[in-house]
């Protein structure tokens, strides 16, 4: 069974990959088989996890409000009235339930996660006012002394490369902590950089929001802002495209690795055998179709 499973897995993998070449019988078989399996799997999942767990077992149980689960069943049955054209309008009640439910759920949830929290994160002072308190100055002093102490510590004799890397990391961390503390107690380069970041984010958010204005004509200052907004959007699109490549290539590499695994003799060299057979068949089809085309042409 295990070897047969390996052959099936390899075959289906290669069937799906064959789509890269062009639409062909292998892909069509794979595609239809895939759809069949997923629906079957979905039916089973819903049967056990929804019907048995959430309806049947509840009805069989003792809970005094157990019959309430019949309400969604009835709503579901309303949907099925679509099979009977005369009363198919009843399905709208079910639509209304699903759509109304989704709308009501979305409003407060979207507001909190996407508006209020995000707004809170954006509304920062654009220019940091240094904390002139004694405590802040003291914290900076302390961090500075610590950074100097860590940096001055001599390397122990016979230090391994790893230990050295760790020690150097410690020096960097201490220095960063000092710079960070200083950026809060006085206006340093780091403070300026942080403010710059805040301002860029601020301008970005504003200009992109301007781009989305629908009922204001985009001319004059609105046009300028919305143009800047487009530039920000482009940076976003480019950056997140580039950032996704890694993940997608890892997946591809994973598939290749699997195919390589299944090439081993313990699986009957599944990958090379199936690959050769498929290529041979596709080549045969190609030649046959070419012959047909030439016949047509003649």
């Amino acid at each position: 069974m295990e070897i047969f499973g390996a052959w099936l897995a390899v075959g289906l993998t290669l069937f799906m990959f064959s789509f890269l070449y062009k639409d062909n019988p292998f892909y069509k078989v794979g595609e239809n088989l895939y759809v069949g399996i997923t629906i079957g799997y979905f039916v089973i999942q819903l049967w056990y996890k929804t019907w048995i767990d959430k309806v049947w077992d509840v009805l069989k149980g003792e809970a005094h409000d157990r019959f309430l689960v019949l309400i969604p069943v009835v709503i579901g049955i309303l949907l099925l009235t679509r099979f009977v054209p005369k009363i198919s309008w009843m399905s709208r009640w079910a639509f209304a339930f699903v759509i109304g439910y989704g709308s009501g759920l979305a409003i407060p949830a979207t507001l909190t996660t996407s508006v209020v929290i995000q707004a809170q994160a954006t509304a920062k002072p654009l220019i940091t006012m240094p904390d002139k308190s004694e405590a802040a100055a003291k914290a900076t002093e302390g961090a500075k002394a610590n950074a100097e102490k860590v940096a001055a510590a001599p390397a122990p004799a016979g230090e391994t490369t790893e230990a050295k890397a760790k020690r150097e990391e410690g020096v960097r961390v201490a220095r960063y902590k000092y710079l960070n503390a200083r950026s809060q107690s006085e206006y340093s380069f780091l403070t300026a950089y942080k403010d710059f970041t805040t301002i860029v984010i601020f301008v970005g958010v504003f200009s992109v929001l301007f781009y989305f204005f629908f009922s204001i004509e985009h001319k004059g200052p609105v046009r300028v802002f919305s143009r800047i907004g487009i530039l920000f959007l482009m940076i976003y699109f480019g950056a997140s495209y580039g950032n996704t490549v890694m993940g997608r290539l890892s997946l591809l590499y994973g598939r290749i690795l699997d195919l390589k695994d299944y090439s081993r003799p313990m699986y009957g060299c599944a990958t090379p055998v199936i690959l050769v057979l498929m290529i041979a068949f596709l080549a045969f089809l190609h030649v046959k179709n070419k012959g047909k085309e030439e016949e047509h042409a003649a």
């Binding site: 295990e2 499973g5 890269l20 070449y21 790893e162 760790k166 990391e169 490549v245 890694m246 993940g247 290539l249 890892s250 997946l251 591809l252 590499y253 994973g254 598939r255 290749i256 690795l257 699997d258 390589k260 695994d261």
Partner: protein, 278 residues
């Protein structure tokens, strides 16, 4: 040059597919060992932990992932097992995800065979039992009761290695390679927090962020993150394998895309109709 560039612009996209396919397959056969990889502190911590244990320590490795996360987690498993077998530790393997049973068995048997580890004496594969966290709780009380038979149907009590292990707390270390829950979080909550064994593990790129908190809180030692972490581990045990090859393949893929984009732009500028030109 112009005709070449015109052809390039109108190129069938299947040539790109072919080039990319080759770029990703090539490093799996011939290791390029591209430079630039450096072991991160979290991965080094896992390595140091295993390296520092006395020979013959008892280690439980739990494969808590399914084939979807195989590219990231299987190389971690192989690298860790290689290290464990090399240090002559005793390995008990299992899994909390039913969908990963066969895959985990394959990983364990292959690594063992390569290191000449003997089944029953140097390592055991227990397989999977239903119950998520309950499995861990049962194992805490009585491993033989929880797994009366191993994955191949042998009596657990008859295996020499298992004769010396009855309770979870008797392990010196538990390694969970997890793609989510149940996984590292479950092992910590129901295992190491209560029974105080050492805990380490590895996870996928998307989970690194949420698992790193356990390292910071000291609930586990080190963490191997995604394929990159596995490649770093391979570097540490000085045995570059699938993950290192993977990093090379992925890097090559990136370069190839960048080169194609640059070529496309050169071609675009060379071939575009010039304004006011002759």
């Amino acid at each position: 040059m112009e005709p070449f560039f015109k052809k390039l612009l109108a190129m069938d996209r299947r040539w790109i597919f072919l080039a990319l396919g080759l770029a990703v397959i090539f490093p799996t056969f011939i290791h390029l060992n591209l430079p630039g990889l450096k072991p991160s502190p979290n991965v080094t911590a896992v390595y140091d932990l295993i390296e520092g244990m006395p020979e013959g320590s008892k280690v439980l490795v739990s494969f808590d992932f399914d084939p979807a996360s195989k590219p990231e987690l299987a190389p971690q498993g192989v690298a860790v097992l290689r290290h464990l077998f090399r240090k002559k530790h005793k390995v008990v393997a299992m899994g909390l995800w039913v969908t990963g049973v066969t895959m985990a068995k394959d990983i364990v048997t292959r690594s063992a065979k390569e290191s000449n580890a003997k089944y029953g004496e140097d390592y055991v594969y227990l397989g999977w039992k239903p119950g998520n966290f309950a499995v861990i709780e049962n194992m805490a009380g009585d491993i033989h009761g929880c797994f009366p038979k191993d994955n191949d149907g042998n009596e657990t009590a008859s295996l020499p290695l298992m004769k010396g292990i009855h309770k979870l707390a008797e392990f010196d270390l538990v390694v969970s390679l997890a793609a989510g829950s149940p996984g590292i979080d479950t092992w910590i909550a129901y295992g190491s927090d209560k029974y105080h064994f050492k805990m380490t593990g590895g996870t996928t790129a998307v989970n690194v962020g949420s698992m790193a908190q356990y390292v910071q809180a000291g609930q586990m030692v080190g963490l191997i993150g995604a394929m990159r972490g596995a490649a770093e581990y391979e570097l540490l045990i000085d045995k570059r394998a699938d993950a290192a090859a993977g990093m090379d393949a992925i890097s090559l893929g990136h370069y190839l895309i960048v080169i194609f984009v640059l070529l496309g732009n050169i071609a675009y500028f060379v071939t575009r109709p010039r304004k006011g030109g002759a």
